[in-house]
Subunit: 504 residues, 2 copies
């Protein structure tokens, strides 16, 4: 490392030897940024040559880096060398075409240049006046995407609702939960917070429980409805109604239901229509978390998963998961923006201005946890325009086609079984009990297989356990994945099974 | 706009005419990104030619853009043209050297290329294994910065604490408040949440109240201690003790105190030592919000503002405000990471892995609101290494020198007065009552002056009201600001006064 020699204090020679400091000289900026573009383009070109899952051990980096920041500047080339030698070996390469773990985080050239522009402006759009274009483009883009999803007007600015870009699903759930909570507490009184009950299934993303804890919902009032393999791990409206009924009978107040379109473990879809029946009967805020699955609904053939959405109060989905937009990008639509604003608004003197006071504008600071915010919409705007609806639909369909292909491979090999039906581009599968029983229990053998595959560095997959069943997850969809990668992954997995079953 | 012709549905000719879709072709990526680098470098070169404060009217952009996303792709050049014609006129140019509003949001070439790399990797570092380098570099960089600030070891990973990069101060306050709240509720029981009381001054950032509301602190339990001009709007330890004492006598439980080093209105500094005495006496979590002022403490001559920090529980400061790092970047250090993790951890099956279970690694998802997170540290790492401590100190000192110069201008003109002492690079000033009284009241005349200045588009300043006094804020410090800009701004302001006082 170039900085080992630099102590955290002034060296003996006088600082006057340092040249005049101009950290945003446009020509220096141009030079370094061009160099970085080439570095990144080469990284993408060679990404297949890296192990997908990093093979380093905990603590590897601290041992390589100095204990303090350098006192004097270091050259761009020195730092870039360290990226090559110290950082890249410690990366798990999420953009590798051989990454089939979790859900993919998708990207594109258009989103990259859009993000460069967002960074470059560095505008802080807490209110309209501080960055009019940032606020207005976000409103436009959120309406565009709502249109692509065939959402009803009640979720759009062109209707009576509106959308906002949050960083993550966690924030989308948190802010809508706060809006629902405060609407309720404003009627019944703050001291009744102990009576508020929230609902989800045992397949709902863990961040829901975290949001509830942050919002001060009593831990004992977070109901987790069990699901079963018979209903493909979807939330049962019958069980939900029974649970709410019991709560009401015991003097509790049902507050918020989080339904999911495409759960994290197996992409199961909760039945929105029937859940809305229950939610509406009990006056509960219905939020739909469609972080992954919702993206597919820009294709008419998947849109049925959102049937009933017009009866929900809010919907979130993350284009960074499937619409090529880089992190972070979670779109949240609400029917009643006024409830968000009421719960989250602040109005300090130093931010007061005429447009905000005239109520003619949206101040996005009142739709989110923080105050400051970047020019978030420009990235998504670049994606939607550069590719058009047609290419984005093709991209979704291509991933689903590859997942179907993988599913076909699995079905063609009698040693494997598909554990839950494939709905989108995730395949949940495992070695059958029958095959495993010769050498060990099903879970152990499947764990061994996963570990073997991931240790090769050629493919990265992850696992889950649902309904007591351990299973492997093969999620297709990084931007660079082609059929040949899926075929090679399957060959690798088959080879692994041969080895495992031979007890190697 | 190039997309006006594209309806939100398939056109008559068949989609097969669309070429194969490859949204991350390395050579296409290279071409577009190089083009964008030049676009941005030129923007920075010409930034002085734009009105600092956007002159558009609410709704300007919606009127210019189509109602739906295009069905077919549009060219990069078309979109870039629309950025020029439709977006840039609607920007308030935060990076203009003539931006003196709010606090500056500072940037640099090094941070830009670091952010390009962060974007490019698109790694989702929710836990160590998902991106080892991302987690470990953040730990190293947070210790580096702690060292630069001469924080005690108890806030560092090399000691018993640790740091994390949050997006904003709001999140830093929220997560520490949750940690404090749950530590308390775990002892006294969830149903005692109605007894928990939090404290700040009337100068504390408005986001504190928002965080308290989100965390379910009862609105009536948020104490806002008044400050006065006599103590330069610093929080009084005497009043704080009286308030806490009264609360305890009434059966309430003091929970959390938010002190500030560099308040948003006037950069006043709360006396940490004496506040820590009170906080420690009542077992209250002491958080120090040093979002702006803390950055200056990398210079020995400003470090005294943090005296007493070793007795706080947590500290946050935002390098995006003064350490050239672009948005978003808020550094949070805590003495007891275990309390954050206890309050915010989730452990779903699909994220389980050996390193996390061995407790040998940090999983940053348990230090924040969300689950996913980008490779946040790489940007700050580029800044610290590219410039070194010496240049960052120079940058702080240069801004303070320019603010002092402006202060000198104000003092030399008897029509103006400095309202509160300048501590960092913000000058709070106004036309005196005496000068104004000929034409109107002080507030009206100063408002008129501000409006006149901002409408020129040549300079952007903002105002505040503290202790009933309306004042103008002149915050020096965008990366591109030089002495000549400060001098020109002062000339403009003087010219404005001449006009205003003549009743023009």
């Amino acid at each position: 490392m170039g900085s080992l020699e630099h102590p955290n204090s002034a060296p003996a020679d006088p600082p006057s030897s340092v040249p005049e400091f101009n950290p945003l000289d446009p020509e220096e900026f141009r030079k370094q940024a061009h160099q970085m573009v080439d570095f990144i383009a080469d990284y993408y070109k060679n990404i297949e040559s890296y192990p997908v899952l990093s093979q380093v051990q905990p603590g590897y980096l601290r041992a390589r880096l100095p204990e303090t920041a350098p006192y004097r500047p270091e050259s761009f080339d020195t730092i870039l060398n360290d990226v090559r030698n110290d950082i890249i070996p410690g990366m798990t390469h999420w953009l590798s075409p051989n990454f089939f773990a979790f859900f993919p985080a998708t990207v594109s050239s258009a989103a990259f240049v859009g993000e460069m522009l967002c960074t470059a402006f560095n505008s802080v759009g807490f209110n309209w006046l501080a960055s009019p274009a940032a606020t207005e483009l976000e409103m436009v883009v959120m309406d565009w995407l709502a249109n692509m999803l065939k959402l009803p007007k009640i979720f759009m600015f062109s209707g009576s609702g509106g959308g906002v870009i949050q960083n993550t699903t966690s924030e989308s759930i948190l802010v809508t939960l706060i809006a629902a909570r405060d609407r309720s507490l404003n009627t019944i009184g703050s001291d009744k917070i102990s009576k508020l009950v929230v609902y989800s299934s045992d397949q709902t993303h863990s961040t829901f429980k975290k949001a509830c804890k942050i919002a001060g919902i009593f831990p004992c009032n977070i109901r987790t409805i069990p699901t079963t393999v018979d209903t493909h791990f979807a939330l049962s409206p019958v069980l939900l109604r029974m649970t709410m009924e019991a709560d009401v009978s015991s003097g509790y107040i049902p507050l918020y239901l989080c339904a999911t379109v495409g759960t994290t473990s197996t992409t199961s879809v909760d039945p929105l229509q029937s859940l809305a029946d229950v939610a509406n009967d009990y006056g509960v805020w219905l939020h739909v978390d469609a972080a992954y699955g919702g993206n597919a609904c820009i294709c008419p053939e998947f849109r049925h998963f959102l049937v009933g959405i017009e009866r929900a109060d809010s919907l979130s989905l993350s284009p960074h998961k499937w619409l090529l937009s880089y992190l972070d990008c979670c779109c949240l639509w609400v029917k009643r923006p006024d409830l968000l604003v009421k719960a989250l608004s602040t109005n300090p003197e130093y931010l007061k201005n005429k447009p905000s006071e005239s109520d003619s504008v949206v101040d996005y600071k009142d739709w989110q946890v923080g105050t400051g915010r970047k020019f978030k919409a420009v990235r998504l705007w670049f994606v939607l325009r550069s590719y058009g609806i047609t290419n984005l639909q093709s991209h979704i369909r291509s991933d689903v086609r590859m997942a179907k292909m993988f599913e076909g491979f699995v079905r063609s090999d009698p040693r494997f079984e598909i554990v839950v039906p494939r709905l989108f581009s995730l395949v949940c599968f495992r070695l059958t009990r029958c095959v495993c029983s010769e050498l060990g229990d099903t879970e152990t053998m499947n764990r061994k297989l996963l570990e073997w595959v991931n240790l090769t560095g050629q493919v990265y997959m992850t696992h889950t356990i649902v309904g007591g069943m351990y299973m492997l997850r093969f999620a297709v969809g990084t931007t660079l994945t082609e059929e040949r990668h899926v075929i090679a992954a399957w060959e690798l997995i088959r080879g692994g099974v041969d080895k495992i079953l031979k007890g190697c």
